[in-house]
């Protein structure tokens, strides 16, 4: 899937640097015992950055829901329409979901509830790598 290359803000850099090493790290607040994503400068729950750290996870998850995009304003993605976008619940970060285009899964055949695994894709403009999730063959 052709995508815009994300330009990291400074506070997001550990996340994107890890992606370039094909590792997924998420922000974790020790005070609240919860993950959050996307990254922010403070915890969305307690509003403090004092105990905000980066934790690496394996990234396994399950498909929670999805939509199929037929009319996107994003120029780079228009040639791929229709394409799917799925919400992934991460096994290691309860309540903290991520989005994926499920590479290899046809737009209209998203298997809700299926197990997925983490893969990485390279975006063209800058070479920045980003995470995607692929349905695990049962």
């Amino acid at each position: 899937m052709p995508k815009q290359s994300p330009i990291p803000d400074e506070f997001e850099r550990p996340y994107f640097d890890a992606c370039n090493e094909e590792r997924l790290v998420l922000q974790y607040c020790g005070a609240c015992d919860r993950f959050q994503h996307p990254p922010e400068i403070s915890c969305r729950n307690c509003n403090s950055a004092a105990q905000l750290t980066w934790r690496q996870i394996k990234g396994d998850g399950h498909i929670y829901s999805y939509a199929v995009v037929y009319d996107t304003p994003l120029s780079l993605m228009q040639s791929e329409q229709p394409y799917n976008v799925a919400v992934i619940d991460l096994d290691e970060a309860p309540g903290c979901n991520v989005l994926s285009h499920l590479p290899g899964t046809p737009a209209e055949a998203v298997p809700v509830g299926a197990k997925v695994e983490l893969v990485f894709e390279t975006t063209k403009a800058t070479g920045q790598m980003v995470p995607e999730w692929r349905v695990v063959d049962q």
Binding site: V68, P73, A125
Partner: protein, 466 residues
């Protein structure tokens, strides 16, 4: 995320053209978890509503610029109330007027606009955004305005700020105005979305897939799976909304496309982000609307019957002077989080007003995207429905003549995207002057507001002070 000052720095109260105090709008919202009965219940009222005409897109005429039409809407609202502009001492508004269409590249500001209206230091003021300073400079009779507040996001928030400010005694006659500027070109196409890189917060949600409706579509797909429903069950609601919208003379469809739609039209509409189709999305338009909010005492002598405010409540996260949407742990709110937001907001709203849902005669909750309406009315428990039952409810009589009128305003899908038809209709229903839209049952108490479950403010309007 949208901060409260996204479009402007608030004017310096000591500046040369400003003799009013600006207040943080979020300080007026009621978003706490443990809301009690509203302290000003029944002591604040709506006294007037006013609208400008509608256009699909601005026609580049100075007299239909968003600034000009905001002035016109204010004029009409004060006429409606029978209140002189010199009596106005408060002004609340939304600074952002954009529908999402960008100012066409290379297009110059029409000279006629610059000649006709007084400018502020921001050349886009009155064209692509609106400040209290611009309004006050262009209405000389507003010299008595001493209170101004700029709300983020939605006219529902601006109305809420006015209502609370009047209740708090910060002003006595407060005008609320919301303008929309819509330009040529495809909605949100071009600009940053046509680049091969993406910066800032946009990289996370919209940079991932595109259309604004897709996160809601994903939540709605979960809803369909969870409750074993189908998208076509939305059709009677959308058809009914257009029907009601065509009975709203101020609305875009009544003025420019006066044709009803059928369930087949809805079911055959092209997908934007399945399960959200074209008719699940509201149409961006160019228009303006305004309200006059005053004390219940002052409203007794106005032209029409006062419509009392019993309470207000909303959802969001307030941090100091700013207010943003409730924040989930992950990329998007799950359906379960959305359902919880809607239930808790509606519960706090009813508590705030000191009523139960059985007291509600009609509802005008936000609908642009239509899928939001499902979440909002289930959260409220309108007509006794529970989670997962809205689509079955839509198969019953939800018309203005039935026992449970749904969105008698027609909402934003029936009138074009203003986010204010719901408020106008609620006021007019209770005054008994909704014309062809007037609901058959007595209109005693109505609810309006929105917009989205994560970021909202709702109002309870009443024929009596309670």
């Amino acid at each position: 995320m949208i901060s409260d000052q996204s479009a402007f720095d608030l004017p310096n109260p000591r500046g040369p053209f400003v003799n009013f105090e600006t207040y943080s709008a979020p300080s007026f919202y009621r978003m706490e978890e443990d809301l009690k009965l509203w302290e000003h219940r029944g002591r604040v009222a709506a006294a007037g509503v006013g609208h400008a005409p509608t256009l699909r897109r601005w026609d580049w005429q100075a007299q239909s610029s968003v600034g000009a039409w905001s002035l016109l809407a204010i004029h009409n609202a004060l006429e409606d109330a029978g209140i002189s502009p010199s009596e106005v001492d408060g002004l609340t508004m939304v600074a952002d007027t954009s529908t999402g269409a960008f100012w066409p590249e290379g297009r110059e500001v029409p000279a006629e606009f610059l000649k006709t209206f007084k400018s502020t230091k921001d050349q886009w003021d009155g064209l692509t955004k609106l400040s209290p300073e611009w309004i006050i400079k262009n209405i000389p009779e507003f010299s008595n305005v001493k209170f101004a507040s700029v709300a983020s996001f939605c006219v529902s928030h601006a109305l809420t700020a006015a209502i609370q400010a009047v209740g708090d005694g910060l002003c006595k006659v407060c005008v609320v105005v919301k303008g929309w500027s819509n330009f040529e070109g495809r909605y949100r196409h071009g600009g940053a979305l046509a680049q091969d890189t993406v910066s800032g917060p946009r990289k996370w949600i919209h940079g991932m897939a595109g259309p604004a409706c897709y996160p809601t579509a994903m939540q709605f797909q979960r809803y369909l799976d969870k409750y074993n429903k189908t998208h076509d069950m939305m059709a009677p609601f959308v058809v009914n909304s257009r029907k009601n919208g065509l009975l709203f003379p101020e609305g875009y469809f009544a003025q420019h496309r006066p044709d009803p739609i059928t369930e087949d039209d809805y079911n055959n509409a092209r997908w934007i982000a399945k399960p959200a189709n074209l008719l699940d999305n509201d149409l961006p338009i160019h228009t303006a609307g305004a309200y006059v909010i005053t004390t219940a005492e002052r409203a007794k002598d106005t032209r029409h019957k006062p419509v009392y405010v019993l309470g207000h409540a909303g959802k969001g996260w307030i941090n100091g002077q700013t207010q943003v949407a409730a924040r989930p742990r992950g990329m998007i709110d799950s359906l379960e989080e959305i359902e919880e937001y809607c239930s808790s907001t509606a519960g706090r709203l009813l508590t705030s007003a000191g009523i139960s849902v059985e007291d509600v005669s009609f509802e005008n909750m936000y609908d642009g995207f239509t899928l939001f309406h499902v979440f909002h009315i289930e959260g409220l428990g309108y007509a006794g429905i529970k989670r997962g039952e809205a689509l079955d409810f839509f198969q019953t009589d939800i018309s203005i003549h039935g026992p449970n009128p749904v969105s008698p305003s027609g909402g934003n899908v029936g009138g074009g995207r203003s986010r204010f038809w719901m408020h106008t209709d609620s006021i007019q229903q209770i005054q008994g002057r909704a014309g062809a839209r007037q609901i058959s049952k007595p209109a005693e108490i109505g609810i309006s507001g929105g917009p989205v479950p994560q970021n909202s403010s709702f109002l309870v309007w009443s024929a009596t002070p309670g």
